[in-house]
Amino acid sequence: MSIAGLRFKSPLILASGILGVSPSTMHILADYGMGGVTTKSIGPIKTNGYKNPSIIGLNNDTFLNAVGLANPGISAFEHEISEIKTKERLVVIVSVFGRSPQEFANVAYLAEQAGADAIEMNISCPHDDVSTIGVDPNLTYKYVNTVRKRISCPLFVKLTPNVTDITKIGQSAEKAGADALVAINTVSALAIDIHTKRPILSHGIGGLSGKAIKPIGIKHVYTLFKSVSIPIIGCGGIFAYEDVIEYFFAGASAVQLGSCLYYGYDIITKIHDNLFRYMETHEYNTISELTGLAHTHENEG
């Protein structure tokens, strides 16, 4: 499988913000079946993020988080990128953010210099200011274009589902030079504790991930597939190989796994092996044969 010229040994990619930053962990994830890893979103300077509670579970494998883009800052992180890169055939995607197009571009540039195979722009975190970018087609264009001009490696743009029309944002990103889209980031949500009458997360509103958002992610990938020509990386609520295939049929060329890591590293291997068994049984040679198949029946019934 390849996206924007990058070859992935497996279409499973670690989603940003999950299991964070440790290079050895990234290598282990590759051994368990990930073809790529996305680092937690890195900004220009060290940020503590929000206080705890910052990640909780709701029922049925659904999670709510507002970590607040806690990260060590790009300069502390550069050597970790180089270390992650030491693993052969592992595609390293560094997720970046900043408070201005220039900051975004600087962080992206430094990440590329440190060895990133691709840059993923986080313009979509629902509980942070960056979300104001990803809801506006013009801002999206400006930010993406600025980063595009600064780096030469492939550029992914991660989209938020918390918009009226995701296709407008996707098209802006494409026009601005994005090589692929990642959909979706978490869905804006809130949980209130009825005994203390407080939002549970310290930040109040957070982002929903996990099983509850899969039908939302599938929908966004499906509509994006109709409106852009760059590849789409599906994300949101994947816990089994069937979910991966559903994303492929909707229009994804690869997928990112996040919340399912709740079940440990083994779930990656399980999804990976079942996926490849499925491909074999159904005599598919490449993922691209699966991408978008649900669009075939468009104008029937």
């Binding site: 930053v21 290079p23 705890n52 709740y262 079940y263």
Partner: protein, 290 residues
Amino acid sequence: MSLKKTAHTDKPFSTPIKSITRETPDSITIFVNFVIDGKKPIIKPGQFIMVWIPGIDEVPMAVSYALENGDIGFTVKDVGEATHSLHNLEIGDIIGIRGPYGNGYQVREGYSVIVGGGIGMASVKLLIDLVQKKMTHHYSVIVGARTKKELLYLPELEKNCPKSQLFVCTDDGSYENKGFVTELLKEILPWIKERSGAQKITIYACGPEIMLKKILLFCNSNNIELEASLERYMRCGFGLCGLCIVDPLGIKICQNGPVLTSAILNELDDFGRFHRDETGEKIRIDSHYE
């Protein structure tokens, strides 16, 4: 193949404080009921919970008491903002509990030496209860603290533990043996070997990381198995945030730990040397852990 969901709940369960016991000048035990929809939690010794102090913070705490009626207790040392506000709470105040998380100690066949240093005693407390309930199980307990007043659970231990199996040491010598637990361990090793006979010896330990590191070296050179409980910064407690990971094995302290065996500890470059702060940055372990 993959991990099963073991937490009683991943959403903070709000529950009023039922009682508070003062343990030492800077430690209290807080008891709450943790029965959800009529279901009691199942808690293994060494597991921990995430304790939400509404409006303040959420922090990991070992479960030190697990009662028949579904009440649980955890012992808090006042070291900073979160723990200090826990100390300021009163009976009836509501806190949120989720978990239990982590693997817990694996009670093995043979002779057990259970070691708790300072607040580390909270983590081994349920293990001591367990080996004491298994009448056939042979064990000794070593309790250490800086000074007499800081020794945790001493009255209870002295009541339930045969005198010959309980060893106490204080850094300042204000109670029983003077010195560190590692020194005491070395001293009583012949005695332990004698008592354990042909049985395999396992040390179960929790305390400052520097102490655990020393115990590991001791175990390595004496061919003793170790199960040690570690602390790392935690956001989620269930394997998603990655802050608690120790390199290079990608061990998540919240899920694959907090209890690690000698085999693993010996492979961990980070052990006793590095942890990650809440930003994920790798930091040299500071004096707090010593």
